[in-house]
């Protein structure tokens, strides 16, 4: 499954995992990920390290005033008896500290006001610089949730693609999508992955549904997402007792899915069964 041009992507998985690619490189690499088991495995391996890096900076103790500023007078979350005793017994002595914090908050408010005033006269250079920063951050998009979800999905795809019993089924575009084509990778033990291109955009309120054609009736096995470029790259998880179907089909159905396939057939592939 590793495409011949993998060499040009060598080493990008690490940069991708920690947000070191610009938008163009990131999108290009994500396209490559769709067909490269090696890079999928590498990204999956490195994402936990990338998560950990946000906790790997040399330890610096935050000042006590920061806690007061953020959580105010809330007691510590580790309510050991001595801490309770210390906090409760020192309530009177903390009062001046609260006054200090209140003054600090006023100062902070004034500073923020100054920033707001400066905002009006901000230079073009700053705007451009910040725009670049925003773009970079968005490109890096080091969001932990997204990365974890991506990792889970990539792992599922990799499991199917690397399965010893994986079979490939060519999918041909049908009347509703004559230019579309694709492949299904089917493993009895690990599920199925659908890849397709030139798929028409979804009409509002509708969804692409995947079917296994098995006697006596087709079985709905999942949904296929299409991206803005008309590509499908989806994992479906058919029931374990389904076996190898006679054919795999993708149809257009109302949002939420249907119990029987409609006539709006986009892709169809027959197995050798």
């Amino acid at each position: 499954m590793t495409e011949p041009s993998h060499h040009s992507y060598d080493g990008l998985a690490g940069l991708y995992a920690i947000g070191g690619l610009n938008r163009i490189d990131r999108e290009r690499f994500e396209q490559h990920l769709e067909t490269c088991v090696v890079c999928v495995a590498t990204v999956t391996e490195l994402l936990p390290v990338a998560r950990g890096l946000s906790q790997a900076a040399p330890t610096q103790k935050p000042p006590a005033s920061l806690r007061l500023k953020i959580v105010g007078a809330e007691v510590a979350s580790d309510p050991r008896p001595q801490r309770h005793a210390r906090i409760s017994s020192s309530g009177g002595r903390l009062a001046p500290m609260y006054r200090v914090v209140a003054v600090m908050c006023l100062i902070a408010a004034a500073v923020i006001g100054w920033y707001a005033a400066q905002h009006v006269t901000r230079s073009r250079q700053l705007r451009e610089s910040l725009d670049a920063s925003v773009l970079r951050i968005q490109a890096a998009d080091h969001d932990a949730v997204t990365s974890r979800q991506v990792a889970r999905e990539l792992r599922a795809r990799a499991d199917v693609l690397a399965a010893p019993d994986v079979a490939t089924i060519n999918l041909q575009g049908q009347e509703a999508a004559p230019d579309a084509s694709g492949r299904a990778f089917l493993s009895r033990t690990r599920g199925a992955v659908l890849v397709a291109s030139n798929v028409p955009p979804l009409p509002p309120g509708q969804i692409y549904q995947v079917w296994f054609v098995v006697p006596p009736d087709p079985i709905a096995v999942g949904f296929a997402r299409v991206d803005g470029a008309g590509r499908i790259f989806s994992t479906v998880d058919p029931p374990s007792d389904t076996g190898i179907p006679l054919a795999i089909a993708v149809t257009l159905e109302p949002e939420g899915g249907a119990t029987d396939p409609s006539d709006d057939l986009l892709l169809l592939g027959r197995t050798d069964r």
Binding site: S54, Q55, R148
Partner: protein
Amino acid sequence: MLAMVYDRVAEPAYSLAIRILKRPESAEEIVAAAFEQLNDEVDVSNADVDHLGAIVLSLIRQRAIVRRNADAATSEVDTKRERTAVEIPKPTSEWRERLLSPAARLRLQQSLAQLASKERTAIELVFFEGLTQYEISDRLTLPIDTIRLNVEHGLRTLAGTALGQP
């Protein structure tokens, strides 16, 4: 709940902000802003503490890099813009990010410090300074392929030594 999150993540959060921004006053401001955003935009009442802590760390990194780049261009700061530049992760019902234990965190810090200098530098320039491979290549006057391989090899080493991956 906010106090529990703070107590769980304050040290790595402040350390991360200091690492990126260098200046304690800026770090404090960014940490406070991240908690404020969390409190404003996330229902923290019944959420998982580790999960909220991971969100805080993500916000701090994003905000701090935006601030760092603004500082590099001019001394002016725009906190409103910083806020629009970052996104709170959208959690799913299934996903929960776990924070490292203090022991695991120490192990990762030590492993990072012991990495080959060229690998540690490349990783730190990406993660703590927000540079791209091209910018790192310019700064270190090294070929981009070398930067890529240094980052990937360094991360693999960290995975093996600090996180116990094979």
